[in-house]
Symmetry: C2
Subunit: 728 residues, 2 copies
C-alpha cells in the first residue's frame, strides 16, 4: 500500500453533465487536474468553469455528415476482394459486394473500374485481361468472358466507406437506432482539407474552455472490413495496416512521388490484404512512407491551427492513428503536445512510453466506465467486479511503468456508473497514488538494468515497436514474449532487417531475439534468404553476441536448412522434407542449467513447435517432449544461443526469459542483483533515490526476497496486487 502523499495532478477524469457533484468529488479524491468528455457524455458549464484543464475530443474525418453527403466522391475508400466465384461455364458474373456489409461499403464506379480494378483467376493466380471483363454499374455486376470452367475468380474493386468504422461499431454495439451513420471524408482531396481546416477553426472558437484538443486521431482508421453474415461479421481487421488509406488520387500522387505505380493487388494481396502479421513488401513500405508524409504534412496544418488558438493538441493513439506512425522519425513534425494510449497491459504502456517527439504521454486505463467490458462481460453492472478488473489490468500495466514512465493516467466513460462501486473508487485512489510515486522515482533517474540490451528482430523493426498489431493476441509468440520483456530490467529495442543491412547490428546490443512462425513478419520471411543478414548475425554471434530463437526463428524455405541460423542454434526443424534422414540422438541435460534454476513447475510453452532435431553434438537439450527438444542451448564461436520451442506470458516463463537473456549475453552474474526470489514478484531499483520497488502481480499474498547488488537479500511480504517501496 502506497501512502497517498502525492495526491494531486496527472490524472484525467471523465466528467458527466448531470453528475456535477460526483464529478467534482471524484476529481478531488483522485487528484484530477483535467476533465474530459467521452463518446456519449458532455461536460456542463458547472464542470468546465471549475478551473480544471478541459479535454475535448474531435475526430476530423467524421465531423459533418451533411458535407460528407454532398461530397460522396470524397469519402474514404479501400480495395476489397470479392468473394470467390467458381466458374461453371465460360461466363462468370460476380456481385463485388456480395458477402460484405452493405451499410459499410458502396462500390466506387466513379473511378473507371477497368483502370482501377483487377480481376483474377485465383486458381492460376493470373490476372484476367481487362478486355475480358466489364462492370455494369446499374446491376452492380462484373461479367467475365472466356472463363475457364471450374476456376475460381475474384474481383479487386474500390469501395467507398459509407459508415465510419469506429462510429459504426459504437452505433451497433450501443443500439443507437436511427442516429445518422457518420461517413469518413478523405483529406487527400484539397477541398476536404479546406473544409476540415475551416471546420476546425470554427470548432476551436466554439470551445473556449477547452485547453486540450484530443484528436481521435488523425485521418485514417486501421483496417476493419465487415461482412453481412452474422457468423462472419468481421472479414478483415488489422490495427496496423493501411488498406483504408487508399484512393485513386492517393495512388496517382504516390506514382508521382515514388516513380512507379501500385495496383489493387498490392493491397488485396491474394485476399490476405497487407496484414501486419505478414512480411511487408518494399512496395507496401513505400506506400506507408508516402501516406505517413501526407498525414504528417496535413496533420501539422491542423495542429498549427490548434496551437494558434492557444490550445494543446493531443493524439489518441488508437482508432484513426494509421499514417501517424508514432515510431517514425517524422512523428515529431506533427508537434503534438500529448499522446494518449488506451492500455490493457505492460507492452502497451511501453508503446506509449517509448514514443519520441511528444512531451506528455497519458494512459487511458481499463476498465472503461461502461456497463459491459469489451467482450460483453458485466463490468459496472450486477455481476461485475470493476475493482478487481482494475487491479488486474493495473498490475500488468505497472510492470511496464516500473521500467519506463508516462506522464499521466486517466479514465473514460460514464462517471455515474462508479457510484454503486465504492471499492472501485478506492482502487483507483490507490492506483493514482502508486502511479504518482513511480513517477517521482523516474524523475532524473533510470531503474537498474542488467547489461543485456536486447534487440527484437522483426521485418517491421522500430516502426512496430512493442505493440505490433493492436492489443495483446494470446498465442502469438512474440506478443507473449514482449509482454514479459516489457517488465524485465533490461533495455529493449526493435530492429528490422533493413536496419541491419544499412547500419549493421548496433554496438550496444547484447542479445538478438527472433520469435514466431515461418513467413510471419515477426520472424522475417524471405529476409532470411539475404546472405548479408546471415553474415552479419553469424559474425556478431561468433564474436560474442547472444541469440534467442523462439518457435521457428530464422525459418525460411530456402537451401539446405529450414532455420537459416541453424548453425548458431545447433538445431533445425523437420518439415517433412528430410524424413529419410534419421535425427541425431541426444540426452537431455540432467543437472540444472542456469536458465532453468528457478523453474519448479512443469513448463508450459504454449502451443509450441515440434519436430525439432539437433544438428550438432554440442547442442545441449535442456528439456524435450515427444522426442523434440523444447529448450536447448548452444555455443557458437564466442557467442551463445538459446532455443525455446514456444512461449507464453507466465511468471515462470518470464523468469526463464530473464535468465535466458543473461545467459545468452554471458553475464550470468548480472542476473541476481535486484531480482526477486519469488517469481510471482518483481522489482525495480532506482539508484539515485535508492528506492527499491517490489510488486506482486498475482491475486495472492507472496513472500519474497530481493537480492541487492552486494549479494545481501531483503525479505518482503506482499499483499495481493501489492507494491512495497523500500529504501535500499
Amino acid at each position: 500500500m502506497v501512502e497517498n502523499k502525492l495526491n494531486q495532478g496527472n490524472f484525467t477524469l471523465p466528467g458527466e453533465a448531470g453528475y456535477e457533484e460526483l464529478t467534482l468529488d471524484l476529481a478531488k479524491k483522485w487528484g484530477a487536474d483535467a476533465i474530459r468528455d467521452s463518446d456519449g457524455t458532455v461536460l456542463s458549464e458547472k464542470i468546465t468553469s471549475t478551473g480544471f484543464d478541459i479535454y475535448s475530443t474531435i475526430c476530423l474525418v467524421r465531423i459533418d455528415n451533411q458535407w460528407a453527403r454532398a461530397n460522396m466522391d470524397k469519402l474514404q475508400q479501400n480495395y476489397l476482394m470479392s468473394s470467390p466465384v467458381i466458374a461453371e461455364g465460360d461466363t462468370v458474373t460476380i456481385d463485388p459486394l456480395s458477402g460484405f456489409f452493405r451499410e459499410q461499403f458502396k462500390v466506387n464506379a466513379n473511378d473507371d473500374p477497368n483502370k482501377w480494378w483487377q480481376v483474377f483467376d485465383r486458381t492460376t493466380s493470373e490476372e484476367v485481361p481487362a478486355a475480358l471483363w466489364s462492370y455494369d454499374a446499374k446491376k452492380e455486376i462484373v461479367t467475365i468472358k472466356n472463363a475457364k470452367k471450374w476456376h475460381k475468380y475474384t474481383v479487386n474493386f474500390l469501395a467507398y466507406r459509407i459508415w465510419e468504422a469506429i462510429s459504426m461499431y459504437n452505433h451497433i454495439t450501443n443500439d443507437w437506432g436511427d442516429r445518422d451513420h457518420l461517413m469518413p471524408i478523405d483529406p487527400i482531396y484539397p477541398q476536404t482539407q479546406e473544409f476540415i481546416l475551416d471546420y476546425l477553426g470554427k470548432w476551436l472558437k466554439e470551445h473556449p474552455k477547452t485547453k486540450i484538443v484530443r484528436c481521435t486521431s488523425m485521418f485514417y482508421n486501421f483496417a476493419w472490413f465487415w461482412g453481412d453474415d452474422p457468423d462472419l461479421r468481421f472479414t478483415y481487421a488489422d490495427w496496423g495496416s493501411y488498406e483504408m488509406t487508399v484512393s485513386p488520387r492517393a495512388m496517382e500522387m504516390f506514382a508521382k512521388a515514388k516513380g512507379y505505380e501500385l495496383t489493387s493487388e498490392d493491397f488485396v494481396n491474394n485476399g490476405q490484404y497487407c496484414s501486419s502479421h505478414n512480411v511487408p513488401s518494399a512496395r507496401l513500405l513505400d506506400w506507408m512512407d508516402f501516406m505517413n508524409e501526407f498525414v504528417v504534412t496535413f496533420g501539422r496544418k491542423c495542429i498549427d491551427k490548434i496551437h494558434a488558438a492557444d490550445k494543446k493538441a493531443y493524439m489518441f493513439y488508437d482508432d484513426h492513428w494509421v499514417g501517424t506512425e508514432p515510431y517514425s522519425d517524422r512523428f515529431k513534425d506533427f508537434e503534438f503536445d500529448g499522446l494518449i494510449k488506451c492500455v490493457f497491459n505492460a507492452f502497451e504502456a511501453r508503446l506509449c512510453a517509448g514514443v519520441k517527439g511528444v512531451k506528455t504521454k497519458e494512459l487511458r486505463l481499463h476498465p472503461y466506465l461502461f456497463p459491459t467490458g469489451l467482450k460483453g462481460e458485466p463490468t459496472f453492472m450486477e455481476g461485475g467486479d470493476p475493482a478487481l478488473d482494475a487491479k488486474r489490468f493495473w498490475v500488468n500495466i505497472r510492470r511496464g511503468l516500473l521500467c519506463e514512465p508516462v506522464d499521466r493516467i486517466g479514465l473514460g466513460g460514464y462517471l455515474h456508473l462508479v457510484e454503486k462501486f465504492p471499492d472501485f473508487v478506492e482502487t483507483v485512489t490507490q492506483i493514482t497514488a502508486e502511479f504518482r510515486a513511480l513517477g517521482e522515482f523516474h524523475k532524473n533517474d533510470k531503474p537498474y538494468t542488467a547489461p543485456v540490451k536486447t534487440a527484437v528482430l522483426t521485418a517491421w523493426g522500430k516502426l512496430r515497436s512493442w505493440v505490433y498489431v493492436g492489443h495483446f493476441i494470446p498465442g502469438v509468440e512474440l506478443y507473449e514474449l514482449t509482454e514479459s520483456l516489457a517488465g524485465l530490467p533490461v533495455d529493449v529495442t526493435f530492429l528490422s532487417f533493413d536496419d541491419i543491412l544499412k547500419n549493421g547490428i548496433p554496438k550496444d546490443i547484447q542479445v538478438i531475439l527472433n520469435a514466431g512462425r515461418v513467413n510471419s513478419a515477426w520472424v522475417g520471411g524471405e529476409h532470411w534468404k539475404n546472405e548479408k543478414i546471415i553474415e552479419a548475425i553469424t559474425a556478431w554471434v561468433a564474436n560474442g553476441g547472444g541469440f534467442i530463437g523462439v518457435g521457428e526463428p530464422s525459418a525460411c524455405i530456402h537451401s539446405s536448412q529450414y532455420f537459416q541460423l541453424s548453425n548458431i542454434l545447433g538445431l533445425d526443424r523437420e518439415t517433412g522434407q528430410t524424413c529419410g534422414k534419421p535425427k541425431r540422438k541426444y540426452t537431455t541435460v540432467n543437472q540444472k542449467h542456469f536458465i532453468l534454476e528457478d523453474i519448479e513447475r512443469d513448463l508450459d510453452l504454449g502451443d509450441d513447435i515440434d519436430d525439432i532435431y539437433i544438428i550438432n553434438k554440442d547442442t545441449q537439450v535442456l528439456t524435450d517432449k515427444d522426442n523434440s527438444p523444447r529448450i536447448a542451448v548452444h555455443k557458437f564461436g564466442k557467442g551463445r544461443s538459446v532455443y525455446l520451442s514456444g512461449y507464453k506470458f507466465t511468471p515462470q516463463n518470464t523468469r526463464l526469459l530473464h535468465r535466458s537473456l543473461c545467459w545468452a549475453a554471458a553475464c550470468e552474474d548480472s542476473f541476481k542483483p535486484w531480482t526477486c526470489s519469488n517469481i510471482n514478484t518483481e522489482c525495480a531499483y532506482y539508484p539515485k533515490s535508492k528506492k527499491l520497488v517490489v510488486v506482486n502481480s498475482s491475486d495472492d499474498r507472496q513472500e519474497t526476497k530481493v537480492f541487492d547488488s552486494k549479494g545481501s537479500s531483503i525479505s518482503v511480504s506482499m499483499d495481493p496486487h501489492g507494491i512495497e517501496i523500500i529504501n535500499a
Copy 2:
C-alpha cells in the same frame, strides 16, 4: 480355429544342417513343400535329398570379394553431400567424408572431381564455380578459394561403397568379427556383367539340387548411408530411392538415352537427397525409368540363365530391389517365376499380392527365427513370446489376405530356435491352416466389395502402390490410412497427377483420397498448382465424385487458398498468412452423422492438423477441438467431400474410414452388407463358395454380428485373434 484339412503345400521352411530331424518333423507338421537356406545357415545333403523343393539364395552383386577387390573402380557408388563447413575466412577446407562411416564409403577420385562433383554455398544456395575449388586426392581435402566469410559450404562428391549395406548391417548386428567385408559390384560396366553371368553359370552348376533361385534381389540396394557417429549411425535411409544406382557411366548413358545431363545436385538435392517422401521431379522420374530399363534388361539375362539351367527364379522384394519396380509395366519382362516379400502388416501383404507379371507370390512372415527382433527385443530367447508375436503379425497380414490372395507363405532364420517354443510351433500350424483355407476361397472368386472403388492420389501413383517407402511408419497419415484400406471391402487403386493429366480420372473410381502434409509426395506438392488437375477433380466431384482429404489435402502455398481444393472441402487452413481475417463461426452438428454412427470412444486422429476454418456456410463440422474442425463434410455440386484432420490405424478409425468412403461415394446403403457390428471384428464374403470369413484382430474375445446382403444378421463369438468360417 480352422481345421487343418489342407495340411500340405505352399509353405517354405528354413532348414538347418545339424537339425535334420527337426527340419523334417516341422516340414511335415507345417506341410512344407519347400526348404530354404538362410543368411547364416546351410542345408545338408540329408535335407536336400528328401524331395522338397530347394530354395537357394544368391545376391549377384556381392558374390566374389576377390573380383571386387581387383576391380575397385567398378564398385557401386553414390553421391554424398559433405557435412557443412562454415567459412571463417576466405579459404575453406572440407574433408568430404567427415561424419560418414568410412568403412562404408571411399571417395571416388578416379572420375575427375572437377567434372563430376559440385560445391555449393548453402547460405545462398548457389554453386561455387569449379575454378574456385580443387580436390587434393592425397589429403582427401577440398579447398575452396574466395569463400564468403560465415557462409555454409558443402561438397557433393562421388563415393564408392566398399561395404555392401545389408551385409554390413548383418555383420555388425551379429558381430561377425573379422569376416570379410563384402563389396557391391556395379553391373553398369560390361566387364561386371560378364563376370556376373559367368559366375551365375558356375553357381547354377554347383547347385544341382536347387529348384528355386531366390535372388536377393537384383543389383541396387535402397539408399542407406551410414555415419561414423554412434549417435547418428544412419544419416539417410529410404527404402524406395535411387541414390545407390548412380555412377558416372550410368549418368553418361542416361544423357545419351534421355538427351540431357543430370548433375550431382539432382541426387543430393540440398542434402535432402531424393527421399520417397518428397515429390519426385520429372528429372528423377526419368532417371528411375532409365535405371529400371537397365535393371530389367540385364536382370533378364540373368534370369534367362537360371531358366536355361531348368530352375525357377524368384525375386526377394526387399534389399536390392531398387530398379526392379514391381509396379512398373516393365516388371513382367524380367520373367520372374516368383516374388517373395517379407511382411509385417496388411498393406505389405497387398503390396505383394497386387504385383502383375509374376506367377507365384510368397510372404515371409514375422517373427524371423532369430534370437532378437528388429528392434533388439527378445523373441526366441528368454523373455520372448514368439507365439504371441506371430499371432499379432498374422492378424494384421490376414486382413490383407481376406481381400487379395498370395500363393505361399514361409519363414526365415534358424530353425532350431523354435525347439524351446512349442506354442510357437502350434501357432504356425494354425496360421498355415488359415492361410490355406483363405487360398481356397479366393480360387476363381473375389470377395464382396462395396461399390466404392477408391483411388489414392499421390505424386507417385501406381509406382508406389501400398507400401510407399518400406515398412509402416507410424504417424505418416497415408501409411495409417493405407493399413486400414488394405483390409476393407473396397477396391483400391493408386493414381498419380500425371495419370490424371494423361488419361483423366478413371471412369470406375468413386472416391479419391488425398492425405498427408504439405509438400510431401503423398499430398502432391506443386502438382496442385496445375490448373488441369484442379479442373479435372473439381469437374469430377461436381458431377458426383467423392473426395476424402486427410491432414493437409491439396495443400500448396499458391494463390489465395492453401488447400487448392478448399471449395470442394468447404474449408481451408490458417497458416499465419491470414491472421487478420477472422474465421467463420460454426456449430458442430449434434445429431449422429452417418460416418460417425459406430464411433463410441473419443476419436484419436493422431498428431493431426489444427487451425482449420470453414469457408462455406454449408460445411458441416462433425467434431472439433481447440476451435479447429477435425471432421467435416461438405457437398459440392453433385459430389461430396469428407475432411479428417489426421488419421491413425485403429479399429474405430478403420470403421470411420469405411463409412466415410461409403458416404463420399453416396452409397450409404452399400455399407451394411457383410459388415460386422463390432468394430474389432471384420469379415469377407466369398460369393461363389458362399463362405463368410469373420476375423478378430484383437487380443480379446469378441462378440459380433455380421449383416448379410438381405439385412439379416449372423451372430458370431470369436476367440482372441480368431477366425470363423461360416456358410452364409
